[in-house]
Structures are given as C-alpha cells and as structure tokens.
Symmetry: C2
Subunit: 506 residues, 2 copies
C-alpha cells in the first residue's frame, strides 16, 4: 500500500462506519438535525437526489405511469385494514393526536384532540387504495399506473444518514391490474427499470431476485429486490417491487367489473426506492479521499480552478476560464448540458482542489498563467489518483470531455463489478461459510469475505438459525435459482433446489 | 349572450364557487380525500404542478439559490422562539405526540409518548434557522441562499381544493444576508421572479406591493406580495416574499462575524408559492366549458383525436396520426419538446373532444378519412369557442404550431389583463366604494365591481372597520403609492399619502 495521508480519516479499512460518516461530512451531503433521526439534506446531496428523480421520473413515464399526490396522513383505521401490514408498521409510526397548541401554565401544550388519530405515512398502500377503490369501476379503468414522490416517516430507533432515517424521501409506485399475470409482469417490469437505472446511472452492479417469506414487505405476496455489495462486503437493498396479490384490494375494497360482468378484486403492486440510494452510492464508489459521483448523476461535471499567483493576471485568467466554461456548456453529455462550476473562492488552490476531490466531482481542471500560455488546461479525474494530472490542449479537452465522462462512468461500474465478482463465492461447507463471514485480515479488521451463494432447504428454521448465529440473512432467491443445480442446505444438509444469496447487510 | 348549453354547470355567473369545484372535477385535477381537508392531486393537476416546479426551480438556480431539505417535524420549543410567529401558527398545528401504535382492549391506540411534542411544519423558518445558525460563522458565509420544495400542514377549518387545504405543496426560500439592504434587495428580487413567472407562464397579470402591518406574515418586518384578480373580481394572493429583519436570526441565534470582526445577527428573508397557484390559474382562465391551461405550463399541448367511422380505415388513420405526432415532437415550443397525446379511447368522438375541452388542452385536432384525403387536419383551439374548427394542411399545421401556442398564451394573458383593467377603478367616495363592493347585476348575482384603488389614512382602525363592514381588505400598498397623489381616506377623510388596493379576497 502507498504511504500517504488520506483526505478522509479514518480510512475505509480502519473504521468503515466512521469513514462513511466522514465522507458525508467532507462532501457536505447531509447532516443530523435537532429532530431525532431526521436528516438535513444539503445542496450537494439534494441535487444528487433531484438528478435521481429526473431520470427515474422519465423511466416511469416511459413505462406508462402518471404522478399523483396523496395525503401525508393516514387514519389509524385505514392502516389496520391489512393485518400483516399494520403488524409491520405499528411499532414505528409518528402519531398525530392534536391539531392545536395552547399555552397552559406558561407552557405550550397540544390542544384540540382529534377524534381519530392520524399516522404520518410510513408507506401509502392503504390511503392510495381508498382512492383506487373510487377510481376503478370496470376492467376498462385498468391498469391504473400511479407514482408518488413523497416524504415518509418510520420511527427508527437506530438511525444512520441516508441509510435509515426517521423521515426519508422516496417514490412509491402503486398500480392495479385486471389479472394476476399482468400484476406480476408489472412487478417484474419495475424491478427491471430499477436495475437499469442503478447499473447505468449509479454505476452499481446489482443482483436481483425474490425475498424469502420472512423478508417480505408486510402484506405482500411476493417481494422482488435488488441487492448491491458495499465496499465492506455487506449487502444493501437498493429497491423493492412488491406483488400484493389481492390482499390490499380486499383491504381497501378495490373491486371492478371484469370482462364477464362479474365483480372481482383488482391485483395490485407497489414499488419504491428512496434517498437510501445515496447511501448506497457513497458506499459503493467513495475512497479514502472522499466521495466519487458517477458523471451521469453528478450535480456538476467539471470544476474549473483558476490559479492566480499574481493579482494582475486575475482578469486574464478568469476570462480564459469563463470562455472554457461557456464552450463546455455547449456540449452534451448523456443528452444533458454539461454542468461547470468555476470556483474562485478565497481559499488557497490546494484547499479548493481538495474540496472538490472530497465532493467527488468527476473532472477538475486547474488553470494558471502557464496553462494559458500553452493554450491548455491541467486536468485530473476523480477515477484516477488525486495527484495524477495531465496537461491537455484546451480544444482537445473540450472536445474529449463527453468521452472522458463516459470513461469515468464506465470505470466506476467496472471497478464495482470487479469488487462484486471477487468477493462472491459459491460455498458448500458450513465451516467455510462461517469463516467467510468472519473478518480475519488484520489490515482490514472489519471486513469479512463477502457474498455467499449457498444452498438452502427453504425452511425458516435454517434461515433463522443462520441469522442468529452469524447475523447473515438470505438477501434473495435468484430468479434462475435452478440453474445453479440441486444441493444440500448449508446448515442442515437437507435437499435444496438451488443456491441463494447469503450476506451480512445494512 | 349566446344561447347554448355549457359543459360546466352551474356557470361562473350562476354559482361561482360551485363552478370552481365542477371545473376541478371535469378537468380531473384533484379531489377531496378521506382525511379532513387534505386533497388528492390527480395526474393532470400534479403534472401542472411539476411544470410550475420546473420553471421556478430554474429561476431560483439562475438567481443563485440551492435546494436543500429539512425535517418535516419541528419541536414545539423551536416554534415558540419567535413570539409573533407562534401566535400566528399555534391555532392550526398538527401535533405528533406518540411514536408507536398498540392494541389496547382490542383497539389500536397511540403509545410511546414523546418527551417533547413535534409539530408538522406549517412553514420552516425556525427549523431551517437552527441549521443556518450552525452554517454561518462569518460574513464570508453570506449570503446563504436556500430553497426547499416540501409539503406543509396548516389545520384549516374551512378548506377548499387548491386554495386552502390542510396539507399543501409549496416551495419556501430562506436566505440570510450580511446587511439589511441586501436582504431587502433579495426580498424584492424574489417578488420579481414570481411576477415574471406568473405573468409569462401562468398568463396572469398581477399587482405587486406591500402588505399592511395587519396582514404581514407572523414575525416579518415587511411582507411583499402579488395579487391577481379572479373572474368573480375577488383578489387572490398568489405569492409572498418576506423581509424578516433580524427577528428570526435573533430567535434562532444566527450570528456572524462581520467585516469589522464584531458579532452581528444576520438579516433573513423567506418567500413562497404553493399549489394555490393552480387554484389561481383555474379561476383566471377557465370558462363555462372547463379549464383552459396556458400552453407554457400545460402537461400536454396537443391532443390528436382519430375519427374512425369504419373499422377498415383504422390502421390508415392511426398511422397518419402517429406520423403527425412524431413530427410535432420534433418541434420546440418555449425551448421544450411539444407534448402530444393521441386519444383513441373507446368513448365516441364527441365525448373524447369534450373531455379535452374540459381538461383545457391548448390545441385539439380531429383526423378522419376526409382529412387524410386532403392531407389536412381539423383544428380547434381552447382560446376560441369550442365549435370553431378550421381545416389546415398538415404541413402548415405542424410548422405553425409553435406560433399557435404562442398566440394562445398571449391571448389568455391579454384577456386576463383586460378583465383586470376593466374591473379596477379609482374610487374616492364612500357611497361609491360601498356600491362597488355590492353585487347588483341580476344576471351575475354574485359578482361585485372589482378592485378599488382608494385612499387610506394608514390607521388600523379604518382598515378594520372597512373589513368588518364590507369584508373588504387592503390587499397591498403599491410601491409607487405616492405617484397616485395625496388624498383623503375613503372612510374617515383624514390625510392619505396615496391610493392602496382594496378588494374582497380568497
């Protein structure tokens, strides 16, 4: 290993969870708020979220979905309509009980109690279901394909910026269909929309498959999911798509007249991704010098750093920089204007450079008098070591920029794919399995082997026991599980129809 | 008046408030939800909101603002820090008091009481102020220019779709500055951003000015506003921009070291517009046949209605329509792709046509075999009578479309300007003033004169008395009030430095 000081301390391998928090701080993405478990998303983090929204919103529209907005409050009685659903969410609900504040004995206290308490939505199946029941009369009204961008609240006891917060931002798709088959196709289609987005935009390779019954969304018949590997080799669930069968249609009374003129319950789905994606992005690509943002989602692509050693050169250097910025903005990358920032803030050149390294902007260029004399720029890329800088003729740099951004995007994806591949293993023996999940490298005291593709007998007993013993869960059952061939359950040795993905997880 | 049945019943002049609700229903914009006072925004309404967001977001960025996101919950103690502020909002707060649900005696009830109750944000000055206090240390950190897109909750007793709902969507800008002058300039700059947006995009002429002390935002030093005239001649406040002085900086302890090295409170502003804009849009442009959406904000610009009288022509007609749609999408209007919908749903041609009339799409074209034979389309525009249709050669239609949309946008604006001008009057006598605000036309039993520019002595007594007697308030004091010359207060006859805007209002 290279002997140099890193911008982020501790490093990934010294203390992974602290490193994660330091990255967020150094990139100025978010911070804790005075309200327990609620985060403040700062501009660099929020713009990243807006870019995620823009791309996904387009994909949802391209697959026929419309956006709508439903109340943030859900009457308790609605939530209670689906037994497993309320069981799953009752323990973590923010409950509104009053609608006024009054001064009593010099203290401000809640007043005007509500007849029925309201829950701040943890998810919206039941409140959206109530409207669907009104909107759907006949098979002609189906499919009904709706998406909502919203904030949701789940009262988490242990929170962590982006990964698990009391309030978070997300999108939730809710659809209703005429047949079981169509609803299942929708569930799969949206999983595929997520997969494409996560791989092509976030540069994160993912495994897709189905959750075990124990890990399903409360009330779902099937839960499909995407799982990605973080740099500490733990899995992170980046999105889910649920086939709800007729469970929620029954709970919300979503009935329609079918083609035979009979009343029938609709088949529904729901699917969502959240600001958790930003946590996944950080933990996939960042290094010990800070964040690395994939160009396709970066709030800005290029920062120009004027290097002014002599005040008399200032005008000349700045106008050279502005001219480059103007030319860059005329270029397209991934059908979007390339975003350029000129950072001429008061801090010295080194500090400014490190600021943008830590924020993970894809390309940095330094421009001083020497560069102007050569009509060139001094460029560094965030996918390469910080000290690696090359001088490029101005015109060449501007023309090559879209390709450079493409290269960076690809490099990040390839690097993440390599990590996933190198740290995923077929394991057939319990002792090897146990060892795989036990950190043993003294240089990386927290890092265990990674993902294990192993056999499972499909009994919850084995699933539970493995979780209790090793904190390892079945992340997903691959859709092509059978392809891996039959085998013996990693724990009990009973028959297994194929391998499943085991991992530690967030 | 023309003798024909209207698509919307009652008409504007028969029953204005019911007409408003019927327009919303007919255009399928929104509806009431099972949660008291909370609305469901349906796709046509939500896409309109997304377009509003897109344009404003660009304007905010162009004026140097960044987006961020802050917690939905505000601890009671934060809200209480600014005395006028809590006074203004205490009566309409949704209060979260528990964070769990439990079954007790077979009933689901709130459990796990919070130590300090939380309020669902009615506005975010205090919670954002807490972060600003952390972010701002020195004059170098100023100005700090932040915007938030969010939902807010105010427990309104009498609600009305879009205009006054318990939950609504909005943006709230929050900025901090080094000097009073800079903060006032920001307050004025954002008012101007709103004015340009409302006039250029919503095609709504507005009057701008300052609120009287009685009408200020709770805690503000000055509240600037935009007021528009609805078709029933009432005023609607479409946006506000507040100069908060050092009041909120003091409440949240936003201190900075100034250029002289001394600690000083920052000067702050806040400004916002909400989904109320959609209510204003409806009431400005809609007619007795439904909504009329200004082209620059319309979720779609053109609907193509294939007229298939004979099943055997279907393929030919549909491919002709698709070809036109494709050509239209290659055109730009206002730097955006023109959005086209082909509506070939099962309902008959007349029903389909009326559906889009009611939704207010700017341009409708019908295409049947006869049109194809002439290589033409049969076009109608929403700014013209529904029955007025003209035949245009296909190529001409496609090429002229951007101009046609421009014309419609302009016509709507001119029409609204005319309404505002014709129904605004300088009034100097109390009896005329009273008459102006009293409906007397038997054909329009609800409609009074309109806006009155009249003199006011600046005493709250007169302001209150006029409100009590006529339900008329001072909507704003024009920035150039002095220009209108001195005069006598419309009520008491005392000295007045110039005219102010009196109106009934929403």
């Amino acid at each position: 290993m290279q002997e140099r000081k890193t911008a982020i301390s501790p490093t990934r391998f010294e203390d992974y969870s602290q490193w994660y928090l330091e990255i967020i701080k150094a990139a100025d993405l978010a911070e804790n708020s005075p309200v327990r478990g609620c985060m403040v998303i700062k501009p660099w983090g929020y713009e990243l979220w807006q870019n995620i929204q823009r791309v996904l919103d387009r994909s949802f529209k391209d697959t026929g979905h419309s956006n709508a907005y439903f109340p943030i409050f859900i009457p308790i009685s609605f939530l209670a309509k689906e037994a497993e659903h309320i069981e799953g969410f009752a323990k973590e609900c923010a409950v509104v009980t009053h609608h006024r504040l009054e001064i009593k004995d010099g203290k401000l206290v809640p007043a005007a109690e509500l007849e029925e308490p309201l829950v701040v939505r943890p998810t919206s199946e039941t409140i959206i279901g109530a409207q669907f029941a009104k909107w759907i009369q006949s098979y002609r009204d189906l499919p009904l394909l709706i998406n909502q961008w919203a904030n949701v609240v789940r009262w988490e006891m242990r929170t962590r910026l982006f990964l698990r917060t009391t309030e978070f931002l997300w999108q939730e798709g809710h659809t209703a269909h005429e047949t079981e088959k169509e609803a299942i196709e929708e569930t799969e289609r949206m999983l595929e929309v997520y997969r494409k987005f996560v791989e092509e935009y976030m540069a994160m390779p993912v495994l897709t498959g189905e959750k075990t019954p124990a890990q399903r969304f409360p009330g779902a018949v099937r839960t499909l999911c995407l799982e990605a590997m973080m740099q500490d080799h733990k899995a992170l669930q980046v999105g889910t798509s649920h086939f709800l069968g007729q469970n929620f249609a029954r709970a919300s009374n979503i009935l329609f007249q079918n083609r035979e003129g009979k009343e029938e319950y609709a088949w529904t789905t729901s699917w969502g991704v959240s600001t958790r994606l930003i946590g996944a992005l950080i933990m996939t690509h960042s290094d010990d010098d800070g964040m690395i943002v994939p160009p396709k989602l970066s709030p800005a692509h290029v920062v120009i750093l004027p290097i002014i050693r002599d005040k008399k050169d200032e005008t000349k250097i700045l106008s050279f920089c502005e001219n480059i910025a103007k030319n860059i903005k005329e270029k397209l990358y991934n059908n979007q204007q390339i975003e350029v920032i000129i950072d001429n803030s008061e801090s010295n050149a080194g500090e400014r450079n490190w600021k943008w390294v830590k924020k993970g902007i894809p390309v940095r260029v330094e421009i001083g008098m020497k560069d102007i004399e050569k009509d060139s720029v001094f460029m560094s890329r965030r996918d390469k070591p910080v000290k690696e800088k090359i001088s490029l003729k101005k015109e060449i740099f501007i023309n090559k920029l879209p390709d450079i951004l493409d290269e960076i995007q690809n490099n990040l994806f390839e690097r993440a794919k390599k990590m996933l591949k190198e740290n995923t293993r077929n394991i057939d023996r319990w002792d090897e399995f146990k060892e795989w999940f036990t950190p043993k490298n003294s240089e990386k005291p927290e890092i265990h082997g990674g993902f294990a593709m192993s056999h499972w007998c499909e009994r919850p007993e084995c699933e539970n026991k493995i979780q209790e013993e090793l904190s390892v869960t079945i992340r997903l059952i691959p859709f092509d599980r059978e392809k891996s061939g039959k085998g013996k359950c990693i724990l009990c040795g009973k028959e297994s129809p194929g391998r499943v993905l085991f991992a530690k997880s967030y």
